[in-house]
Amino acid sequence: MTINGHYQLFDYLDSRDRNVMQEWANGLPMSQKDRSRLDLRIDLLKKEGNNLFPKMLQSTRQRHIMEIAVNGRVALRPLLCRGPFAIQDEYTFLFGTVEQNRKYVPRDALNKAEAHRLYLIAHPRKRCKHEEFVKEAEECI
């Protein structure tokens, strides 16, 4: 169920309970503009889900995995899925990647995202509420 009409967003936690999306975002040479674009997409996803904005979430070769395509100096491609528990009301970020020459970096990003999704289904505690990237914005290049 959405909270205050907002969708719930979660981040996958790795084997050491580190937030994979924060690790990814903090490790990228992301400019302020790139990060702001990503933040806007996530704010809108939280507000309206995938119902209103056309092609906000794009499907990938992996059936359950979708990407948010943010094009800037770096082509950011956070990978996520619906649910996987409350399919209608929540999204979980599974893996962060970038696109270079029309290919994900790392190349097996989709497989990793799917592996995280399956692991999460088996271990529902391996995720936390999505943490805003905006906290780190001042540290951007």
């Binding site: 400019s31 302020q32 503009k33 790139d34 990060r35 702001s36 674009r37 933040d39 806007l40 997409r41 704010d43 809108l44 507000k47 309206e48 209103l52 904005f53 056309p54 092609k55 906000m56 395509a69 094009n71 800037g72 805003e132 905006v134 914005a137 001042e138 951007c140």
Partner: protein
């Protein structure tokens, strides 16, 4: 609303960040509004393309939040196809944030000219005007010691009211003169 503003306050101290954020919203909101307006009119992409004089794949490209190469001319053509007017204006960041917080399907829908409430003469309004005419005519008749119109048959009332405001007589309103 204030949640988003509160969240963005620090980040917006960076000029690059705030401009990147609202520029991205501009692209997203235009693409979304085109789709919302098309669906409001129950058109497919092909129908919109025909209205604008473009090909359907071009509409598909524009109805994508990742599209960013907008031109005023294209937007003007789309506005004409939807029978709307295009507004391009400069805005403060605070107002833009309010807009972001309030965005939803209803906020993006617009009626075309033929459904514009400011231009459509409502039936109720016409009835209200007729009623006011009747009341005024009745007052005048009462003042001149004639029979109040409340006692008259409806056809007679209309006929007298029409004469009070010098409307041309119509066959259907005509009644025997007393």
């Amino acid at each position: 609303m204030r949640n988003l503003l509160k969240k963005l306050k620090n980040a917006f101290n960076s000029k690059d960040y705030r401009h990147g954020y609202v520029d991205e919203f501009l692209n997203v909101s235009i693409a979304t509004q085109i789709k919302v307006l098309r669906e409001q009119r129950k058109w497919g992409q092909k129908e919109l393309a025909d209205e604008v004089g473009m090909k359907q794949p071009r509409i598909s490209v524009m109805e994508n939040v990742n599209y960013s190469s907008w031109s005023i001319n294209t937007l003007r053509k789309l506005a004409e196809a939807f029978d709307l007017t295009l507004r391009v204006s400069f805005e403060s960041f605070g107002n833009r944030i309010k807009e972001i917080e309030q965005i939803n399907r209803e906020a993006l829908e617009r009626p075309s000219f033929k459904d514009d409430p400011d231009f459509v003469e409502k039936e109720e309004e016409a009835v209200a005007v007729s009623f006011m005419v009747l009341i005024e005519a009745n007052k005048d008749l009462t003042r001149s010691n004639e029979m109040p119109m409340t006692n008259l048959a409806p056809k007679k009332k209309m006929s007298l009211a029409a004469r009070q405001i010098n409307l041309p007589r119509r066959q259907s309103y005509e009644a025997p003169i007393c």
